[in-house]
Structures are given as structure tokens and as C-alpha cells.
Symmetry: C2
Subunit: 402 residues, 2 copies
DNA sequence: CCCTTTTGTTCGAGGGTCGAATAATATTGC
DNA sequence: GCAATATTATTCGACCCTCGAACAAAAGGG
């Protein structure tokens, strides 16, 4: 149940019913393809006559194509309908501290091209770089229909101003990516926080989320982000600042966090935290025979060391896993979501950390929780695919009524 | 943006547009009354002709009544329309550990009758008691249209089974109130958690929430409950277990909580916690001259003592306020809601505890928050009024489309 | 008394879905 | 081979809804 917002509502016209049913049919074609008109009528509840009219419109607008004849045990053979992947192309951009990925995807979220550029330290330089590269990218891939550009950013996005407010890992503040990109490409640009992008990716392309209304996507990298979905909708808050559970204090006298406070969850459970644990443990021994400092390992090194049964690396990961559990227990208690999906390099050591997380969550939950805690499929590129979903939504999401 | 849930969606028929616009008009009449048809057309964006048809229907069904003529500087005088409060009566029931309140409200949420019964310790006895009293209550107030019965419960409600799962303060588990009440009254019965009821009360009758999509209602009594509203909708989670932030652990070695765990937020910041703080502080001195134990004070006593500047009571309240701040900081960081409304006896000492809460939240938030933290109007009976909203929603909320 | 302004109603046009009827195809049984 | 049956897809009139123009009703001003 949603109250009608009398400060901004949408009245219905005679076309409203068509808009609603059209989107339902389009979604059914997307997820159930190949599918015949008769089947669409059956599983939508609309009349066959109505389905015919709607599909006629969708075919005319090239969202849907007629394919081969299907097989029926008796009677006239059905004509299969497919989603027309060629109808539109979407550009997805995933900005990360070291490297930024630009990819081209079709309507089904399949990537047909991909390239990477270095992420410049200075935001102005980066925006200029990116604009150039995207323009070249479009020239290189002359598709007729570009639907838009989705951008995933490792920081908070203000949806009112459509600007990046703060990205601690990049050291950027108040950056406008949207306007320059829109000016150079003439395309619609939508920006989104990385954790939210992961949630959108799961929502639109995930295997675990059909019919799911409440889940959380937890991104664990240099920091920790939470993409929260309740009632089937992303929680962004009035300014887009919702989802910063990574900066909830779990200990007032804890280690210093990038945000300036002490003892944030992400200061205990991020990749950075694990690297610090390892560095502290090897502090005395981290000099080689020539008494030179060995460089601090990366988180990837740590995973490799742990796989090789390096006891201090294992210990660092275990500690990280413990604190992941501490924070996840908070989310489980507070939201009781159906699923929490963990995204990040750390999932490569899931066999070790998964049980630790689950044990800690169980210990700290007031009652046995129904929440499944699962690692994301890392090969699915959730951040990047989420940017595709960001644009896809415009055509496939429920229309805004009332 | 909401993805269409293909496991349970709603197709649009020709009547869908009417349903949407009808609800918009009805809500406009509710909030802007008295209002003329011409004004309705202006502030809805619908044609005057359409408004005429819709209001004709609403008048016929007695949701709306025509009232006096209005005044216009020029031209034909407008005819005012009002919401017909007499159209329906709603029974609200607020179950609390000691006492249960039964009230009768009109469509505007005004209470026209009210009575109280003791809450029996045993749930079976209570359900029988309540059914009898509600039946008598209805006989005593012979209204033609009873729309339904809303019930607020101090515990978690499973919406799938429509049962009370667990109420720690009552010691009840797995209680079915809905079926017996529906059988004895023949009316629609809806049950809801107390914190969620407070959120609904704010949403539908509040002064702070028009146009607000993200806020949290925090109930502080024997325990702590959070009624969370995001994207303009109550967050209940798949089973209704969402909103248990009161049982988030803030210290593993903390005091024992009613849920069985140690160190839950509510074990630090509830009324019970404050009473415990006071009891501990006066442990050595809590015997009178005859060396007899003075009974442990109630939270009301504590508020009275603090008002009289009793240093130990003030200290206990301050400590409670500090920990309220700790938990609220978590909510502010994670949700960044526009408003957090605090409900409970503790708001009577708002001048003292308000500043403490705000200071702690400020200290623990990664960036200056935009969240307003305000005390609820205690005379508004938020729990009770929320139960009215629960039934009201059926007619005034946005219809479910797609 | 007529003109202007505003409110509220009437009515045909246009868009949408429904449901029955019809056309188009396959398969099965005889 | 042919009729009966089953299934798919389209066509068409009935009905519902909103729109927008025209019209009736009602007040005030010069």
C-alpha cells in the first residue's frame, strides 16, 4: 500500500491502461521468450484480442520480433515472439579507482564490446578523458539506436542534482559527469552508486531475485556499500544518501575510517581492513634479510596467500569475515531480507569466509533468520550490468501511476 | 522505478483509469476540503467534465457530500465538496501490556468513542475477552457502516499468516487475533506491529509527512521498535520481520535482552534500560531506614524524579538518551531519512534528551545529516490512530497496478 | 440590461479492453 | 481422403474512460 503523494502525482488517461499492459507483455516476452501470443494471453490474463493489438504495436516499434513457428500437440502452430535485442544498445560505464570500463550491451544485458581506460586522479581530467573515449567508442560502434548511458560510481550520488557528491576512494567531491557526457554524446545519461548498481543488476538480470521484493546487495571492496531493495524498489533516500550502512559505527574507539570517523563497519570489514590486519600481524617480520621493507600486499595478494595456507593471511581474512558477519547481522535483524548478495573479490574465498559469516550472523540474530547469504557470480560484472539495468528500467519498469 | 513482478501482477482494464483518478480525487477532497469541482480540476489536472463524473459517483456512494456555496470574486459561485465522515466508522484496537484500548473513529481519524480493558496475561483469555468487548462495543454504537477493525500489537506480525508471531512484553507466541475477531464481528480485521502503526499514523494524519517519502517512526517503551517508510511505503519485509533494529547488537558483552541475546540496542535505550540504570545507581541506597527494599520505580516515576532534578534519575535518562542517539545515528547513516519521529513517554523529557540525542547523532554520522529528529505529539495517540490508517488505506491508497 | 467571468454539465470523438464470432491451421479418427 | 476436433490468431461490436468543445447556470459590474 502506498499513499498517493499529492505533491506529485500522475493522473490516468485512456492510454494508461495500454501503457501498463504493454509493459507487462514486454516483460513477459523478455523473460519467457520464445513465447506465443496465446501463451502471453494465458499467463497475463489479458484477452487474446488485446494481446494481438499490443504485440502488433510492439512489433511495429521493433521491441519484439516474430520468429519461428512453435510446436503444438494439436491445432494451429503458434508463432513465437522474441525480444528484439537489436532494437537498442546501451553503454555502461563502471568507474573504479584504478580503471574505468566502458561496455556496450544489448537489451538482454549481453556485452557486445568492452574497453578500459585508466581512471585519472583528477576528476576534471577524467571527465574530459571519458567524454573523448565514449565519443570514439560510439564512432567505432555505429549502432542506429543508442538508448542511453549508465554510469556506476564508487561514491554517493545525489539524485536531485544528478551529481557525484563524494567518492572517498577517488578523492572526488561534487563532480558533474552527466552534463558533459550528455553534451558530447547527445544521449541520456544516468548515474548510480556502485552498490545500488549491483542491486539493480540482480533485480533485472539475477537468477535469485524473480518474485523477490526484499534483498540487499553488499559490495565489499576498498569500502563497503549496501544496495537495498525493499518492496521491490531501490532505497535511495531523499537525496540518495541511503545505503551508507558501511559507515555505521560499530566501535567508538575503532580504527580511523576514510570518512573521518572512527570505528565504521567498513574500517573493520573491507578489503582495506583485511590488508591492515595482515600488515599489523607481519609488522615485525615484514623486512627481508637485507632489512628492507617489503611492500604492503594488495588484497589480491592476501587472497593468494590465504589460498596457499599462509596462516597470517588466513587470520586476516577470518577477522574480516567475522566483522562482515557483524554488519550483516545488523542488516538481517533490521531488514529481514530474503537474500543478501555479497559482491567483491572476497567471494573468491567464499568456502572459508561464508561459514564464518553465517555463524556470526546466526549468533547475533535474535531469532533464526530466513535470510540467505550468497556470493555474487563475479563473472557477471554486476556493477557494469547494473548500469545497463539503469537505462533498461525506463522501458521495462512499472509505469508511475497515481 | 519498480520492476514488474511477473509472479504477481495486475493487468489494467478500462476501469483502471477511473480507479486511479477516483482515488486521487478522493484524496484531494480529504486533504483540501472544502473544495469545489473547479478547484479539483485545477489541482488534479483532470478535465472539469471528468471531475464532474467522478464526483457524481463519489457522492452517489456517499464518500463525498455537497456542502455550502463558496465565494468567488466573479462568476458563478462554486459548490463546496466535503469528505463524508459519517460514511464509515473504523474500530481501532491498541494492545499494550497492561491495558488495551478500543476506539471508534470516523474517516478523518477523529475518535468518537473510546474505552479500555485490562490485557489478560494469557493470550487465549485475552482474545475471548476482546471479542466479547468488541461485540458489545459495536452493539453500543450502532453505526450503519463499519469499515473494519485495525489492531496494533507490541510484537512482530507475520503478514502471510496474519498472526502475531512473538510479543516479548506480553509473553505471547503465535497468536491468531484476526480469525476470532472476524468471526464474532463479521468485519474486516487488519493487524499491525505498533511501530509500523505509528508510521502509518504519521503518514496519513501527520503534520510533518506531506510529500515525504522517507521517514522512520521510532517507538520507545518497554522495547524499541522502528516503523520504516521508504519510497512512500512501509517496509515490512517478506514475513513482516523487517524493522527489528531494536535488536541490533551494539555490544556483545552488553546486558541481557528480552530476546535472549546480549547487548541489543533496546537493552541500552528502552524505558526498561533507563529504569535499570536508575536501579543500579541507587542499589546501595535503595533501602529505607527500616532496611526494607523500596520497590523499583516505573519509568513514569523516573520522569517525575528527573523533572524534580533527582540527579540519579537525570543521569539514567541522560544515559538512555545517549544510547538512543547511538542507535538513531545508525538509522540516520543507513537510511538518511528526512525525519525520524520518536514516540513514547520519553518525549515528555524532550528538552533534556533531545539535545543529547542530536549531539550523539552528529558525532557519529559521517557527514552532517539532513535528518530532522522530532518528538511525536503524544496526545495524537499514534498507535491507535495508525490502526485507523490501516483500514483507511484500502480506500485512499494508490491502487496496485502492473 | 447586457457583458464578462466562473462553475458545472452535456455530448461526440478517440483510445482501450472484453468477449463472441470467424478465419486459419494442425492433428486425429474413421 | 475427409470430417471432426483443437488450437492459434484476427475481426468487430459493446462498453468504459478521458478529453475537449459547446452550452447552460449563476453571479457581479458598468
Amino acid at each position: 500500500m502506498r499513499k498517493i503523494d499529492l505533491t506529485s502525482f500522475q493522473i490516468a488517461t485512456s492510454e494508461t491502461a495500454r501503457d501498463i499492459n504493454r509493459r507487462i507483455v514486454l516483460d513477459l516476452v523478455r523473460t519467457r521468450q520464445p513465447i506465443s501470443r496465446a501463451d502471453l494471453a494465458r499467463c497475463s490474463g489479458l484477452q487474446r484480442s488485446t494481446i494481438s493489438l499490443i504485440t502488433e504495436q510492439l512489433i511495429e516499434e521493433q521491441w519484439v520480433t516474430e520468429g519461428a513457428m512453435g510446436h503444438a500437440p494439436r491445432g494451429r502452430k503458434p508463432r513465437f515472439l522474441h525480444l528484439n535485442d537489436e532494437r537498442a544498445r546501451i553503454i555502461g560505464i563502471n568507474v573504479r579507482p584504478a580503471v574505468t570500463t566502458i561496455a556496450l550491451a544489448d537489451l538482454s544485458g549481453r556485452f557486445v564490446a568492452q574497453e578500459s581506460i585508466g581512471t585519472a586522479a583528477d576528476s576534471k581530467t577524467f571527465v574530459a578523458d571519458l567524454s573523448d573515449r565514449v565519443r570514439d567508442f560510439i564512432r567505432l560502434h555505429p549502432q542506429v539506436f543508442y538508448e542511453g548511458i549508465g554510469v556506476s560510481l564508487p561514491g554517493r550520488v545525489d539524485y536531485a542534482s544528478q551529481r557525484l557528491v563524494f567518492a572517498p576512494n577517488l578523492g572526488w567531491r561534487d563532480v558533474d559527469l552527466k552534463t558533459p557526457l550528455e553534451l558530447t554524446t547527445g544521449l541520456l545519461v544516468e548515474i548510480e552508486n556502485a552498490a545500488n548498481a549491483c542491486a539493480l543488476s540482480e533485480m533485472w538480470f539475477g537468477r535469485h531475485t524473480e518474485g523477490l521484493h526484499d534483498f540487499i546487495s553488499l559490495t565489499v571492496s576498498e569500502g563497503i556499500g549496501t544496495g537495498i531493495v525493499t518492496n521491490g524498489q531501490l532505497v535511495r533516500g531523499p537525496t540518495g544518501m541511503a545505503g551508507e550502512f558501511g559507515h555505521v559505527l560499530i566501535n567508538e574507539e575503532g580504527p580511523l575510517c576514510r570518512c573521518g570517523n572512527r570505528g565504521c563497519w567498513e574500517a573493520y570489514a573491507s578489503n582495506t581492513a583485511a590488508v591492515n590486519y595482515y600488515a599489523q600481524a607481519t609488522n615485525g617480520t615484514r623486512k627481508n634479510s637485507a632489512n628492507r621493507d617489503i611492500p604492503v600486499p594488495t588484497f589480491d595478494d592476501l587472497l593468494r596467500l590465504a589460498a596457499q595456507r599462509d596462516s597470517k593471511a588466513v587470520e586476516a581474512l577470518d577477522r574480516m569475515a567475522h566483522y562482515l558477519g557483524v554488519g550483516i547481522a545488523m542488516l538481517v535483524t533490521g531488514f529481514a531480507p530474503s537474500v543478501i548478495i555479497i559482491v567483491g573479490e572476497v567471494t573468491r574465498a567464499w568456502e572459508r569466509i561464508g561459514p564464518i559469516i553465517k555463524r556470526v550472523v546466526e549468533e547475533r540474530s535474535p531469532m533464526p533468520s530466513m535470510t540467505r547469504i550468497i556470493p555474487a557470480d563475479d563473472t557477471a560484472h554486476p556493477r557494469l550490468r547494473g548500469t545497463i539495468a539503469l537505462i533498461l528500467q525506463k522501458h521495462f519498469a512499472a509505469p508511475t501511476t497515481a
